[in-house]
């Protein structure tokens, strides 16, 4: 299974400069924002957490639909599916982790830099990092379900990503609201953060199992 993690990471990084790519992506996203809403630092620092979270969601969506499809097209998926149930669930889990390592983690690590650019306070940046650290894996895990169902459809496709996106939006919303709660005084940080963690745990358990079930059904 380590081999699978290594392979998926190798493929992700082979397509250009390792984890740098994720950081670069977020830098690019953050760089275009001021061009839209203007250089008002006050405003920027207020929407900063939302921007970081949107960037994370977008980055996950960009690579997620190919999570299993690429393996299907070259035939690898057959070998991955030829395992017992536990092996298959583990495989999905590992692939989701690789996806997160390649897209989610760089964002978490880059958050302080981006926080600086968006003029966010230290506390705010810390809160965003923490929520991203908990929330982005959840996006990868639940996204895996979408990717697995998409591979099952004879005609391929994004249909199920669309079903997944509504599930990912709560993650986004709780992540963002927890980040804000950390800096705005009356709102408590912990309740939304606990909900976010609960969702993340739930998805980490549910995602691989559901995706494995979908893959089993999908094989043609």
């Amino acid at each position: 299974m380590m081999a699978l993690l290594k392979r998926d990471l190798a493929i992700a990084t082979r397509s250009g400069g390792a984890a740098m790519l994720g950081v670069l992506f977020f830098l690019a996203v953050v760089a275009v924002i001021p061009f839209g809403i203007g250089p008002d630092l006050n405003l920027l620092s207020r929407i900063g957490p939302a921007i970081l979270w949107i960037g994370a969601l977008l980055a996950s969506l960009l690579g997620l639909d190919r999570l299993f499809q690429a393996d299907r097209e070259d035939g690898s998926l057959d070998m991955l599916s030829m395992q017992d149930w536990f092996g298959l669930v583990l495989t999905v889990f590992v692939k989701s982790c690789a996806h997160w390592l390649a897209t989610g983690l760089p964002l978490v690590l880059a958050a302080p830099l981006l926080g600086l650019l968006m003029n966010m306070s230290g506390l705010s940046t810390g809160a965003v990092m923490l929520t991203l650290l908990v929330g982005t894996p959840a996006i990868s895990f639940i996204g895996a379900v979408g990717a697995a169902v998409a591979v099952a459809l004879p005609r391929g496709g994004l249909l199920v990503s669309i079903l997944i996106l509504p599930l990912a939006i709560p993650i986004l919303i709780f992540g963002v609201s927890a980040s804000y709660a950390a800096v705005t005084d009356p709102d408590p940080f912990w309740p939304p953060f606990m909900i976010l963690s609960a969702i993340a745990l739930f998805f980490a358990a549910l995602g691989p199992v559901a995706a494995a079930a979908a893959l089993r059904g999908a094989s043609d």
């Binding site: 380590m2 699978l4 190798a10 070259d74 035939g75 094989s219």
Partner: protein, 216 residues
């Protein structure tokens, strides 16, 4: 070790593409499946590999004591597609499958030895996508060598191979059989194997019977 199929039938869409297939393979034996395009050869192999559910019947792998073995863990499946990543080097691809499909007994050649066994020494460092069609197929064959599994399921293994490699392939399979392995191959070309069981699918698909298929 024996591989036993009983009364297998497999379904595509609304019809059974084969039915009541039964055979028994012992160590060292091979089965060659022939039949026209669309006869259901690939479907049968996928059913045997456990990638498709059989409509009826079963396929079992029994060890020498008669106990059931998990088919998926003791089987190499080589489909129409090569299961290699174009962007990874040949050796990376093979090393991945080696550790992913490690046989219980840990047998199997090293990556370099496997590449040599398919007579492609020196291509290990090239990205898989740089190889010619036949070279790619030979590397796909090398995957079967890097981890030892007793049953090989081969779907048109010699596609894109040149004359010399056909021979090479036949030698590989003979070696595998001689080592106590088993092989089931679907093909349109003579494989150069002697002493094999044959199974001919005729391509006469049968619609599902009433009761079995609700909407037929």
């Amino acid at each position: 070790m024996r591989a036993i199929a009983t009364q297998l039938s497999g379904r595509r869409g609304e019809s059974l593409v084969f039915h009541d297939i039964g055979f028994t393979l012992a160590r060292g034996e091979a089965l060659v499946i022939t039949g026209p395009n669309g006869a259901g050869k690939s479907t049968l192999l996928r059913v045997l590999a456990g990638l498709l559910a059989a409509e009826t019947g079963s396929f079992r792998l029994k060890d020498d004591d008669g106990a059931d073995l998990a088919v998926a863990d003791h089987t190499h499946y080589l489909g129409h597609r090569n299961a290699m990543k174009r962007e990874l080097r040949v050796s990376e691809n093979l090393a991945f499958w080696q550790s992913f499909q490690a046989g219980d007994n840990g047998g199997g050649l090293t990556v370099e030895a496997a590449i040599e066994a398919v007579e492609l020494k020196g291509v290990g460092h090239l990205p898989f996508g740089y190889l010619s069609a036949g070279q790619q197929r030979r590397i796909a064959l090398a995957r079967l060598l890097v981890s030892a599994r007793p049953l090989w399921l081969l779907d048109e293994p010699t596609a894109a191979l040149d004359k010399r490699s056909d021979q090479l392939f036949a030698d590989l399979v003979r070696g595998h059989l001689a080592g106590g392995g088993m092989a089931i191959a679907a093909t349109h070309q003579p494989l150069g194997l002697d002493n094999v069981q044959r199974l001919e699918l005729d391509g006469a698909h049968r619609s599902l019977e009433a009761g079995l298929e609700a909407f037929a």
